[in-house]
Symmetry: C2
Subunit: 411 residues, 2 copies
Amino acid sequence: MVETTLSPLAPASFPSLPAIAAVRLGTVAAGIKYKDRPDVTFVTFPEGTVVAGVFTRSLTPGAPIQWCRDALAASGGACRALVVNAGNSNVFTGEEGYDASAETARAAAGLLGCAAETVMVSSTGVIGVPLPYEKIVAALPSMALSEDGWEAAARGIMTTDTFPKGATAKALVDGAVVTVNGIAKGSGMIEPNMATMLAYVVTDAAIAAPALDRLLRDVTARSSTPTTVDSDTSASDTVLLFATGAAGHARIEDADDPRLDDFRDRLEGVMGDLARQVVRDGEGATKFITVTVTGAEDDAAAKKVAKSIANSPLVKTAIAGEDANWGRIVMAVGKTYEKVDPTKLSVVFGGQRVTENGRVRTGYDEAALTGHLKGSEIDIAVDLGVGGGRATVWTCDLTHGYIAINADYRS
Amino acid sequence: MVETTLSPLAPASFPSLPAIAAVRLGTVAAGIKYKDRPDVTFVTFPEGTVVAGVFTRSLTPGAPIQWCRDALAASGGACRALVVNAGNSNVFTGEEGYDASAETARAAAGLLGCAAETVMVSSTGVIGVPLPYEKIVAALPSMALSEDGWEAAARGIMTTDTFPKGATAKALVDGAVVTVNGIAKGSGMIEPNMATMLAYVVTDAAIAAPALDRLLRDVTARSSTPTTVDSDTSASDTVLLFATGAAGHARIEDADDPRLDDFRDRLEGVMGDLARQVVRDGEGATKFITVTVTGAEDDAAAKKVAKSIANSPLVKTAIAGEDANWGRIVMAVGKTYEKVDPTKLSVVFGGQRVTENGRVRTGYDEAALTGHLKGSEIDIAVDLGVGGGRATVWTCDLTHGYIAINADYRS
């Protein structure tokens, strides 16, 4: 492991996440891979809790993903616990890998007196190494769990993350105030790479399992949570949404019920916040970049262009070098083959419109643009001039730090 | 510009390219952007020469691409000259940019007494800056051209390239021996990035323009010239194939004529050689990586998987770090969503089969693999276990050198 220091884009502190009744969390150093740091996290939920999940679309998913999918199908969404380990992803580990996830779930279920399929499991870390699940099984019985263990849990699920990630919000559902707490891990450049993103969101709202599932899919598909959305990255990407139902309002059966409107907005806010924190912890990142594309043929085209800009190593390295090389942005638009009117194409970089009539706009304030690039929050806004499609994507710059971290990870 | 040193993957020397009768080349320092180095290259062809072109699919192509397309349509493939400048790409330069390309072509045509549309032009370098075409126009009349100017021309078209690129072959067409000479430039990581690749191939074979066009399209679409093929990268990517017809055999009218079989193979060899040289000059590259994918559903699926592996920053950085992290290869397969049988998936890394039955193959020789990774020629072979599709892609590793070059290019 390379010694990593706190990301310069990290928030000042971990937010204060309030307790959610009967949701208890704990973490312990079980020696999965790391030494002297917590690497197994255990969360228990009260009876009646339901869960929905969105997982990686990878065709070589990890064993924990397969376990969660099978368990969700068997349990109908009923859930009593979550076990997460860091340091070993249990990916590409064959049948024994699946058994390791199952044994982990059975051990937790045995402690709670519930069915194994009501236990979700996640693993992140090195690929292809058998998971020493017996260490997890041995650690669970003596773990200290408490309702105020949110920050500890956020730390326990970290791998190459340099800071723990959490977000919280209150929402009104049918007159009741409910809490939405989320924790996440992820520190890669994420898509188009393969670093794993895990996010767990817990609420005390009462929502039927099928409605919760629809809600989660809707929110993760929204453009305002772009890094969370696709789940098309590593073999382990996982977003789980747990609802205990303890808030006291009548259970909502339908995802389209207008009583969920405020909740949906707040959930989207929490998930967007977590997604942005993952970007802020991008490996080697020194700049947080917001790419907004408008005027596209449709939203999908806008997203494709925004991702092309956000994922371009040449754009990312230019920004790392504080170089006002807007030509690379134009090129990243062109290489998507999405419809664009070059004569109307508008590139606004750091607040300066740099293009006009299909060429550089003479007289833009290059000094102001250069000043913007010296900061840590970079804005790129592109209008394609052909339609009403729009999308926002967040990313970070590409630096020597990224190379240092990734050229020496496994060793 | 960052000071660049010769790529450690460069060939020992520039190959000896023989003269092709009446094809004359020259290059001169015209001060387009660089100081004291040749940056304008002029090539003239005898009457009767025809040309075919394959260009970037970018929807924001450079003005020279638009000029070449228009000229080819107007001339029906007749060609008398090629003018290439380095240091300024004439991309995103508006109507004036198109005029600059046209003025360049007109100046060359005036010297030769031919029509402007029989002059091809290319430009590479910085984007969005008006091309000082008057410097090119002023330089052309006094340029010294000769039949042995191949290496000079290969040097004159370089930008961030660290070595000139050339290849040559002889082919038999209808009993006549013909020559195939090629020069190219390109030093980016190419697709999925935006560095420009230019390749010019000249032969004295006699091939009708429509047949030449079909031949070029066929060869660039073949999997053995993968980096040349797609032309889906920068706004300037250009491959031009010129045929003077001076070899003395009867003109071939049909691309499917079996008398072209040997020529087609040799042309593919020259273009593949040039493509591999471009990869060997990848910015910051220290390792040449060959990715071969077999057992895919079809060739297109194989190519998608091979590119996913070749383009993955996590695979590239692992190889830069000489780290036997084959798990990242498995992940790069999975994230394509192409059909794969995980239990049959075979990953052979540096000659060592590392997977078996959906997990790591115990007993592979990790020391041998580590030894392979310390070399500069890296092999990755993946079999997906589902069909007969296959593809080969070449790439290079991702190093601190890439960041250094690209974080400080424009400044």
